[in-house]
Symmetry: C2
Subunit: 237 residues, 2 copies
Amino acid sequence: MHPNLEELIQRLQQAITLEDLQITTESLREHYAVTHVVYHWVNSVGERFGAGTYSQEWVDRYVEKDYLRMDPVIIGCFQRFHPVDWKQLDWSTKAAKSFFREAISFGIGNQGLTIPIRGPQGQFALFTVTDTCPDEVWADFIETNSRDLILIAHEFNKKALEFEKGTEQQSAANLSPRELSAMTLLAKGLSRAQTADEMQISEHTLRVYIEAARHKLGAMNTTHAVARALSRGLIVV
Amino acid sequence: MHPNLEELIQRLQQAITLEDLQITTESLREHYAVTHVVYHWVNSVGERFGAGTYSQEWVDRYVEKDYLRMDPVIIGCFQRFHPVDWKQLDWSTKAAKSFFREAISFGIGNQGLTIPIRGPQGQFALFTVTDTCPDEVWADFIETNSRDLILIAHEFNKKALEFEKGTEQQSAANLSPRELSAMTLLAKGLSRAQTADEMQISEHTLRVYIEAARHKLGAMNTTHAVARALSRGLIVV
DNA sequence: ATTTTACTCCCCATAAATGGGGAGGTGGGC
DNA sequence: GCCCACCTCCCCATTTATGGGGAGTAAAAT
């Protein structure tokens, strides 16, 4: 374990503004003596939020070209769980190769480690450390620090979720057991007739539950109601 | 950091069967001198998988009574990111109270810390440590070990995902951008007409996307397809 | 250069979901 | 004891979703 992990995490935990997170990324960059440290998050509303040491030029370029949609780091991390060494990713396509060349020209560095992080309600974030060095040096760096970085990424995301919570409040909307059963069965793909049969009630009665759940959830239709129940963690499929 | 974390994680990383995970939970229980250690996972197909030291009687009881749907630990962890001390959860309802009493009678312990873990395609897992002790002792335990436990939980899930990859690899389900747009808008409660209008295509065309998405997701109807897309983290509302 | 993938459009008919009413029974909480 | 939330049942008519076909263009991957 790195001796200063405690101190770094404490600084993170004490952050109260976005700028504090920004400063923390800069401190981390100095501390680990790497090229860049970035925390990046696309929230449930599609808003982007991030803190990091990439140059503004690169960020602008990235947004302008909509690289989010093709960046092999994003694509790769989205289907992985463990930290991803950029070398493990698929850079074979032409677009990926030119993207990588361009990234290097913007001073991103030739090495990178990105940790995917997933939170409630489908939240997805990335914590990235990049450097400019030979493969062997980078392998050593990962070997030494990956666990610390996982914990730091975790703390970053915890903080980001705290900020998010301040901006969007969500109503409790507690559904009755029968309403929850109805929502769950519908989410499993059963039709109303099947659901009513499974719940051993008439379809007429089932409709009352569905309607009640819809109104409680402020949903437009059954599909919407099921989607909201899922998003809010009221039901599990 | 606990001196034996390295050894424990290495043992985890070398696990090649489900029984190895089971043995690891038992080793962890001894190592931390706690009442129970459990890793539990409900995958995208709804299959349950787990390793842990709970008694078979409690597991059977839990499944029989379908406690998964009301367990405050599940509900609470599903909407949280950071490790959850069971005391932070909402035990105010009558059902929750009797559930807690019953759990204690089955020797689960009066204290618990559960770490929610989320993987690709909406995978959701829980890593739990329980104990029987006073609040202050438990607070100390958490203070001392929570970070180690996060890393252990991470390794557990990495291993579980490796196992999963072996058994079911067909659930890749790549939806095209238009299919994803359709699913997202439907999940937001738009009707087909509104969705088609929003996507600026004819409703006939929209139906092709919905049908394609349904088939790819193996869903019975639109509601089911949207639910699966949400569960697997393909779309966000 | 060829194949695959994605995107767009159109037809038919039937089954399903939705909108709005109303009514009676139970149990728990104040 | 009363009220509220929950559970159950039923009617009407209309809109919407679903099932199965087919077919052409354009871009991208191989």
